[in-house]
């Protein structure tokens, strides 16, 4: 396709569009994105301190669980929104000549605003619960950035597949439910049997949760083994996503 415009301007406009459309019609606006993790944090803290107390966790449970919820929320929201992004923007695919790959990417990036607010909430709570600020916080942008890279790649694949197979969105919906249990949100990495631990670290959401806890709760830099796995899986996913998208893009028009 012949398009040599300003990618940065295009993506920023698409992000603004997503953002405005999502929040303009809500009276509480952005506060909704803070309410959801707070409610979940409250419920999970109640269940796992009053009903099934988990004594192996040393940190205050509320912050511990929020360290898991924030990455998971971002991942599941960005993944499911990116998956439907092409089909929801059928008008763009069928009627406007533009590079289509920016649609899932800008959808993921628009979700980052939401992520930013939740991370802000998390950091405030970490400090409120007396964990303090440490120099390893500088690792946070790195690990969160890798997460965004991973979701971009995954989002491109799923969005392209959703055009051909509309069942895709339900697959993703179920997968995010399963993921809630397979990511160490309300349990600790040490309670996972050693034979599964290596595999767990390849799941970038799980890796991110573990890294966030190392940084925020234990004031430690994330171990290199974890970082390298996160790095490899994120960039492999991005490259794979790009090529899958390019391949499937050819017949988008016909399937819309």
């Amino acid at each position: 396709m012949l398009w040599n415009g300003d990618y940065f301007y295009l993506i920023s406009n698409l992000i603004l569009k997503d953002f405005r459309v999502r929040y303009r019609n809500m009276s509480l606006g952005m506060l909704w994105s803070l309410l959801n993790p707070l409610v979940m944090m409250g419920v999970l803290t109640f269940v796992f301190t009053a009903i099934f107390p988990n004594r192996s966790i040393k940190s205050p449970f509320a912050v511990f669980v929020l360290c898991g919820l924030v990455p998971y929320n971002f991942f599941s929201l960005a993944w499911s929104l990116a998956t439907v992004s092409l089909v929801e923007n059928t008008g763009f695919i069928k009627r406007v000549a533009m590079p289509r790959i920016v649609i899932p990417i800008s959808t993921v990036l628009a979700t980052c605003v939401n992520l930013g607010m939740q991370v802000g909430l998390l950091l405030v709570l970490v400090v409120v619960f007396g964990k303090g600020i440490n120099v390893n916080w500088l690792w946070l942008p790195v690990v969160w950035g890798l997460e965004v890279v991973f979701v971009c790649g995954l989002g491109m694949i799923c969005a392209a597949l959703d055009v051909y197979i509309r069942d895709m969105r339900y697959v993703v919906e179920s997968a995010t439910l399963v993921l809630f249990w397979l990511v160490p949100i309300f349990y600790d990495f040490s309670s996972i049997s050693p034979k599964y631990r290596d595999v767990y670290q390849y799941n970038p959401v799980a890796a991110l949760v573990l890294a966030s806890r190392e940084i925020l709760l234990d004031a430690q830099a994330p171990p290199w083994s974890l970082l390298s796995k996160l790095c490899v899986s994120s960039f492999v996913m991005l490259v794979l996503g790009y090529f899958v998208f390019r391949l499937l893009e050819r017949r988008f028009y016909d399937y819309m």
């Binding site: 012949l2 301007y9 019609n25 069928k94 406007v96 000549a97 197979i165 017949r251 028009y253 016909d254």
Partner: protein, 243 residues
């Protein structure tokens, strides 16, 4: 120099919509029974700089498919499509616009989609709003606009981005008399600047005035290519009963 070149272009669609998993699976097992419907069959033509061409034909003749190939929205299944320069397409009322955004926000969004930089959109902004004649409505959400207002805005953006090829599908009929006159003048000016125009319309009188050349499509085949008044006359006469 040719701006648009079609060489033996064919495009088909599978007859059933295979949008569900079940459809894909059944296709795997019945690979050879897949029915194909040809939207365009072996189409060849060239359009040079400064030409204005009308695509004429009854519903389902393949006009929209042809425009989608020129706009680069879909790819041909065989043959070659070559288009040189920036293409601005007005294919459907308000496509690429969003109802919850204001007119101003939509101009920026649409400008960036058409490949302009932020600086260029800011430069063109007043001209676009002025041409669309929206006045203070520009800061209202698009869903409060009438279809004529949306059309005016879409047309204003498309012609002001200075495309080399302008594609217009049926849409100009929505504007009121004064806007139609205004857009007509803009298109004439556009032609004088040596730009290429490709349009589809059922209002044959408008097409006859704007376009010098006609392409008559029928059931995916190009059955006539010539001066627009001749093609329109032949089309009005009808093709010997084919359907």
């Amino acid at each position: 120099m040719d701006v648009i070149e079609f060489a033996g272009v064919s495009k088909y669609f599978s007859r059933h919509t295979r949008k569900l998993l079940r459809g894909h699976l059944s296709d795997l097992f019945h690979r050879y029974h897949r029915e194909r419907f040809y939207a365009l069959k072996n189409i060849s033509f060239r359009i040079g700089r400064g030409e204005s061409v009308a695509v004429i034909g009854s519903n389902g003749a393949g006009k929209s498919t042809l425009l989608s190939l020129v706009a680069g929205l879909s790819k041909p299944d065989s043959g070659q499509v070559n288009v040189r320069g920036r293409v601005a397409a007005l294919l459907e009322l308000g496509s690429g616009f969003h109802g919850d955004l204001s007119g101003r926000e939509n101009v920026h969004l649409n400008g960036s989609i058409l490949g302009l930089s932020r600086k260029r959109v800011n430069e063109l902004f007043d001209e676009i709003v002025d041409f669309a004649g929206l006045g203070e409505f520009i800061d209202q959400p698009l869903r409060t606009y009438s279809s004529g207002m949306i059309m005016r805005l879409a047309f204003a953006v498309a012609v002001n981005v200075d495309p080399d090829v302008l594609i217009v599908d049926e849409v100009l009929a929505v504007g009121d008399q004064s806007f139609q006159t205004k857009s007509f003048e803009k298109i004439v000016e556009f032609k004088r600047a040596g730009k290429t125009l490709l349009c589809v319309s059922h209002v044959t009188s408008a097409v006859q005035n704007l376009c010098d050349r006609g392409l008559w499509l029928d059931q995916g085949e190009l059955i006539m290519d010539g001066a627009s008044d001749e093609v329109i006359a032949a089309y009005a006469g009808g093709r010997p009963a084919t359907r």
